[in-house]
Amino acid sequence: MTAFKKIEDNLRKEAKSLLESGKVTLVLAYAGGFDEKHPVPYVAKAAADADRLVFNEYCTHNMARYLTRYPKGTRIAVAVKGADSRAVVQLIQEGKVRRDDLVILGIPAAGMKNQKTGEIIDTRTTGSAINPVIHDILLGDEIHGVKAGSPYDVLAELEGMDKDARWAFWKKEFEKCIRCYACRKACPMCYCDPCFMDASRPRWADKSPTGDGTLMYHLTRFYHLAGRCIDCGECSRACPVDIPLYLFHKEVAKECEVMFGQAAGMNIEDKPAMANYKGEDSDQMLGS
């Protein structure tokens, strides 16, 4: 059972101490929202701000997405759960953030809940990391012995479908898309400015929500996240029309792991899979 209150107390304590000592200029964590089930991502800048920090089972946001807003050299403490910490590692791998600029406040958490549905978030919609893969300070005790399947088990149904049924499934899901780009903006790895969708030359997809534009947007994003998606599930929780994007991202992540032998965001020393090649790569991967 995750001791949320204890983590919250530690979060406030550490944030206060880090800000007071000047070790960091910002603490990225959570504050209360309009009610308990709706906490809000929060940037604490002064020691007094630390009293506003909260942590409960609804603090699902991936705070790593805010790291790329700040110039390198900004000293930041960031509160991260398991998958969130992988995003931090991935951003370091990609050179978007420096390890030395960060104080990583790791939060081992099991039993996080989806704000919309109240369901427990488990490996079906997010990765299997319960404990942060990297931290400077742990805000709670590491959690061991939680029985969790593989984060790819949930793909069995789709993988088992024949391709026409699978296409029908995705076509129906993408028809719901209203091109709000909440998925893109919620993702810690979508930091490109401009995004390919903002380009007019070439015009990959028109702005109006035509089927082909929507398909191009999502398939390209799945491709852009290959070997980078750390399976936090934020894209899917952000989606106002509940498109299960996490299923596709997981499939691509699984294939990357199988074909390239590495998972995103696990080791700082890794080179991102799609920006690399290895001697072991073989033409086998080109077959279906």
């Binding site: 391709k163 026409d164 699978r166 296409w167 398909l215 191009m216 080109l286």
Partner: protein, 141 residues
């Protein structure tokens, strides 16, 4: 009348495209269904080209590059191999027929191999029939 597939071919300048030229100059017979776009290296290929190709009506997409180890730029095709592998996985998972997308390493001297691949792939796509899943129809698909 059997259906005549429209196949988008993307070939790297130094190997496959030259190989295709060789097939032509040595008067090899192969079907005219592949419309070739030349890129300098297979790593120039953005997977979005392939998706877009299908959206614009291609029934099949054939990518050709130098054999790994023989890239004119040294390592381009090694990156391309990973990119194209992921592209295949994405197309598969989306439900696109796997037989519509093919990657071949064809060197500049393999004119006959180019012809053979085009022959084979054209028949394969002909059997699969017109591509309708990604193809843009009027009023947006």
């Amino acid at each position: 009348m059997s259906f005549d597939p429209k196949i988008l071919g993307i070939a790297c300048n130094w190997c496959t495209y030259t190989g295709a030229d060789l097939a032509g100059t040595t008067r090899m017979k192969y079907p005219p269904n592949v419309r070739v776009i030349r890129v300098m290296c297979s790593s120039r290929i953005n997977p979005s080209f392939i998706i877009r190709g299908f959206q614009l009506g291609a029934d099949g997409v054939l990518v050709g590059g130098c054999h790994p180890g023989d890239c004119h730029y040294g390592t381009g095709n090694l990156y391309a191999r990973r990119k194209l592998a992921i592209t295949r996985k994405i197309l598969d998972f989306a439900g696109m027929e796997p037989g519509r997308f093919r990657v071949e390493w064809i060197s500049a001297s393999e004119g006959n191999r180019f012809a053979e691949v085009v022959r084979e792939f054209t028949e394969q796509v002909r059997t699969l029939g017109p591509q309708t899943k990604f193809k843009i129809t009027k009023n947006g698909q």
